[in-house]
């Protein structure tokens, strides 16, 4: 009968939320909260993809980035690479479907992680300008280049191809993306200019040619022709598991027994370890994974935590390396001294990670300002949410005074220095989907501090040696400046010759310079 319940009423209001609605309401989560940041996001996502594609295909990247100002709040972003290109059948989904990608289901060190990136930019462009994205892709010299215009069917979360044709293109392989969007171009520490410069710092193997909206063309040449070590894909490590993960892995595995499941689907688990896990959970190791109940999964997870399992292999990481980081910093920052440290890999929640730190000191760096910290995760600059980031916190919590920088309390140090911190991991724990701040895992913080201290010690040795020598020279200069003054006054009251007094004083200083400056040191220590 037609009785209308409350549930019926509510049901009328329940409908599928379109992806565009979701995006509009949650765009801050993805980093599109204001026009300035939106412009940066467009460049960032396209650049991340290009560099990732080149690395995976073992190609030395050549990037051309161009931003044109069309009107006050309207920009065209063009990013062109020499990467492997994208297959014809995959291309529309890569750009026109949210949450489509190769990265989410794999444990490999990559710039992007979730596959939200570029399609979110396409959606934002569509929402703010109504224009489609224009893409050229070519996968080989032997095949033609294809040109596409496409946007997203926001109700279905499907790509909508508006144009598709062969096109003449000078490149033998690569991608060219052209996006029009609403944005704002500003200079400064969170600008696109700064982003591109920082990308160059941590990607010494990439060549970048950047033209900004002021039509300034900036070249960032390569610091090395060597490709970074190819990051190996690894299976998940049991320590990183959460219950939901485990349940879904149990339901899709091809293994017929729990032993098979643990040894086959995870890294670092041998037969013995697998049996130990099952034994502790009081579940038979021959049991079929598909028949494991939720409660049993919980027991398994508990016993995993109690079982000793070897740390994951670090092959999956691709650090910059201390030497190359230094070379790269020398290229981008004018300083007197550089120190870099690349730590050994460590593990948090079962994910391997690796910390690298670089310091530049002296030169053109401002003397009386707070030391700038440049944060990176998997070679991607982090420009926002500095305050919420574990990298920033560890930086400020390190005691810099013994290393020759000024510091008050838990504030960042002050001095003519710049610090670069990079975390590489198969899964960088960001605090939100905007991927700007690293979460506070104790293992990560510990490694960060060790790396910062290690670098700090090197800096301290340099400062003590060179800066101290400069101070001694300054002191000697001081006496040299005082001598004519003293000679003049002494000559006045004694009636003796000023020239003679001055000459003698200079002689005394020269003869005893070591004792005179040494004497000062002794006194300063008292």
């Amino acid at each position: 009968m037609g009785e209308k319940t409350k549930a019926h009423e509510l049901a009328e209001k329940q409908k599928e939320i379109s992806i565009s609605e979701f995006f509009t309401k949650n765009r801050h989560l993805l980093g599109f909260d204001n026009p300035t940041r939106a412009l940066l996001m467009a460049v960032k996502e396209a650049v991340d993809n290009s560099l990732d594609a080149c690395d995976e295909a073992s190609i030395l990247p050549e990037l051309i980035i161009e931003i044109k100002e069309l009107s006050e709040e309207r920009f065209r972003v063009i990013v062109e690479d020499n990467g492997p290109g994208i297959l014809k059948q995959n291309l529309p989904n890569v750009f026109g479907k949210l949450l489509y990608g190769s990265k989410f289901h794999r444990y490999v060190q990559n710039r992007g992680q979730q596959g939200i990136g570029i399609s979110a930019v396409v959606l934002y462009s569509q929402l703010t300008t109504g224009k489609p994205i224009k893409v050229i892709s070519r996968i080989s010299e032997k095949r033609p280049a294809y040109y596409y215009e496409l946007n997203i069917d926001t109700l279905k979360n499907e790509p909508k191809i508006l144009k598709e044709n062969e096109v003449e293109w000078k490149k033998s392989h690569g991608i060219r993306v052209e996006i029009e969007l609403e944005g704002r171009y500003l200079k400064g520490k969170q600008s696109v200019d700064e982003y591109v410069k920082q990308v160059a710092v941590v990607n010494p193997h990439a060549e970048i040619i950047y033209t900004n909206p002021d039509n300034e063309k900036i070249n960032f040449p390569r610091a090395t022709n060597e490709l970074p070590r190819q990051a190996q894909e690894i299976k998940p490590h049991p320590y990183g598991l959460e219950l939901g993960n485990l349940i879904s892995m149990l339901s899709v595995t091809k293994a017929r027994s729990l032993t098979g499941f643990f040894t086959g689907d995870f890294s670092r688990v041998g037969k013995k370890t697998a049996e130990e896990i099952c034994e502790k959970a009081k579940i038979k190791s021959e049991a079929s994974p598909r028949l494991i109940t939720r409660d049993q999964a919980e027991l398994l997870l508990k016993s995993i935590k109690e079982t000793k399992i070897m740390a994951p292999s670090a092959d999956c990481l691709s650090p910059i390396g201390a030497e190359l980081l230094e070379k790269s910093m020398k290229k981008e920052f004018v300083a007197d001294y550089y120190a870099t440290v690349s730590r050994s890999p460590d593990v948090y929640r079962g994910f391997p990670f690796l910390i690298e730190v670089g310091i530049a000191y002296g030169g053109d760096l401002p003397k009386d300002e707070q030391v700038r910290l440049l944060r990176f995760a998997n070679r991607v600059p982090l420009l926002y949410q500095q305050g919420a980031c574990a990298l920033t916190e560890s930086f400020a919590e390190t005691n810099w005074k013994p290393y020759g920088l000024q510091q008050s309390g838990l504030n960042p140090p002050v001095g003519p220095a710049l610090v670069v911190v990079q975390i590489s991991s198969v899964w960088v724990p960001f605090t939100s989907e905007a991927k700007e701040a690293v979460a506070h895992y104790p293992e990560i913080i510990k490694e960060l501090k060790l790396a910062l201290q290690d670098c700090g010690r090197k800096l301290g040795i340099y400062i003590r040696k060179h800066v101290h020598a400069q101070e001694q020279r300054d002191k000697a200069n001081l006496f040299e400046n005082y001598i004519p003054e003293l000679a003049s006054s002494l000559s006045n009251i004694s009636g003796e010759s000023k020239t003679e007094i001055e000459a003698k004083l200079k002689k005394i200083l020269k003869k005893n310079i070591k004792e005179i400056l040494g004497e000062i040191n002794n006194e300063a220590q008292e």
Partner: protein
């Protein structure tokens, strides 16, 4: 008294001595008696503070001393020029004559007047000459009135006929001649406002005395003037201060000398001065209990500090005053007497105290 050219000679000798060291290629060094509380001795025989035998040395090629060394000779050169030209300058003048930036540095020879003031005091110790002999004058900050006629720089001045302001005491009183003095005693008071009250009441006329004041600490000119009248004309001197540790110290400076100028020895001390008030006994006798001020932290620590000074620590009368201040937890200003009537001080308080010889030594 050393003659002017003697001052000049003393500075020249100082210069020659240092140049001699330089010619021998030694690090030039100055050695002089250390000033400061650690080297202050109270000598009960002469009833005066004096400097002990500790010495300090200052050498040029020592970064901690270099600037002070330079300052010392820059100031010496400025003073030499003053003496040569027969001019006198104030402490502030000397500061500006020395203040300049050393070429090719960002360093000033002196940044604050206190630096040049200190160097002048050092030079007094080094040359054994007083500041007055070095042609440097202190600020004049004092007034005097009474039946006295003097001669100063060729002018004859009658202190009784200078209106409400009285005679303004110069910083150097060495060359004043006393022509006629008609007074039985002198009252020195810490506060200029009290002096104005007494002057308006013609207290000095009625009591046949001299009244003198400076604002706060007694200047050198006033101390020397008091000393001269005390020694040359046998006039008793009574000191009128607030009842607090600061007032007690002002009294002790006139009597025994000050810590800062201990190197002057007996040149300005007046062991015979007496303290007239305000005393703790006055508070009760004149009913000032409701007009007291609570001691603050500085007062309390200052009481502790000065009761340990050699010249107070065996003085029972003063120790009793300090004890009573602490037990009342209060201090009293001279002006508290105004609570009994604006001219109570002139008509009752002072005449009674003097008549009864109600003093503390």
């Amino acid at each position: 008294m050393k003659h002017k050219s003697e001052s000049e000679k003393a500075l020249q000798e100082l210069g020659k001595d240092v140049v001699k060291q330089i010619k021998k290629e030694k690090n030039p060094e100055l050695t002089f008696t250390l000033r400061g509380l650690s080297n202050i001795i109270y000598d009960p025989k002469i009833r005066s503070l004096k400097l002990g035998s500790k010495t300090a040395s200052r050498s040029f090629f020592n970064l901690a001393h270099a600037k002070k060394f330079l300052q010392t000779f820059d100031v010496a050169a400025v003073i030499k020029n003053l003496i040569k030209e027969g001019k006198h300058a104030s402490l502030r003048d000397v500061f500006y004559q020395v203040k300049r930036t050393i070429p090719s540095t960002k360093i000033n020879v002196v940044d604050e007047q206190t630096e040049s003031d200190k160097v002048i005091e050092d030079l007094e110790v080094i040359t054994n000459l007083s500041r007055e002999q070095l042609h440097v004058n202190a600020n004049k900050e004092g007034s005097i009135v009474g039946n006295v006629v003097i001669e100063d720089s060729g002018d004859t001045i009658n202190w009784a006929k200078l209106g409400s302001g009285g005679w303004s005491i110069p910083s150097n009183v060495e060359n004043i001649k006393f022509k006629k003095i008609n007074a039985k005693f002198i009252i020195y008071m810490e506060k200029a406002a009290v002096w104005e009250r007494l002057h308006e009441d013609r207290f000095w006329e009625k009591q046949n005395c001299i009244i003198i004041t400076s604002q706060g600490q007694t200047t050198r000119g006033i101390r020397r003037l008091l000393q001269r009248m005390y020694e040359e004309h046998n006039l008793p001197i009574y000191v009128l201060c607030d009842l607090d540790p600061w007032g007690a110290y002002i009294y002790s400076v006139i009597k025994y000398g000050s810590i800062a100028l201990a190197h002057l020895g007996t040149r300005m001390t007046i062991p015979g001065v007496k303290y007239l008030g305000i005393t703790c006994q006055d508070v009760e006798k004149y009913g000032l209990q409701k007009h007291l001020i609570k001691l603050n932290e500085q007062d309390i620590s200052r009481i502790k500090q000065i009761s340990e000074y050699d010249w107070f620590k065996d003085n029972k009368a003063w120790l009793q005053q300090f004890k009573m201040m602490k037990s009342m937890n209060s201090k009293a200003e001279i002006q508290a007497l105004s609570s009994r009537g604006i001219s109570f001080i002139s008509n009752v308080y002072l005449p009674e105290k003097i008549k009864n010889k109600d003093f503390i030594d």
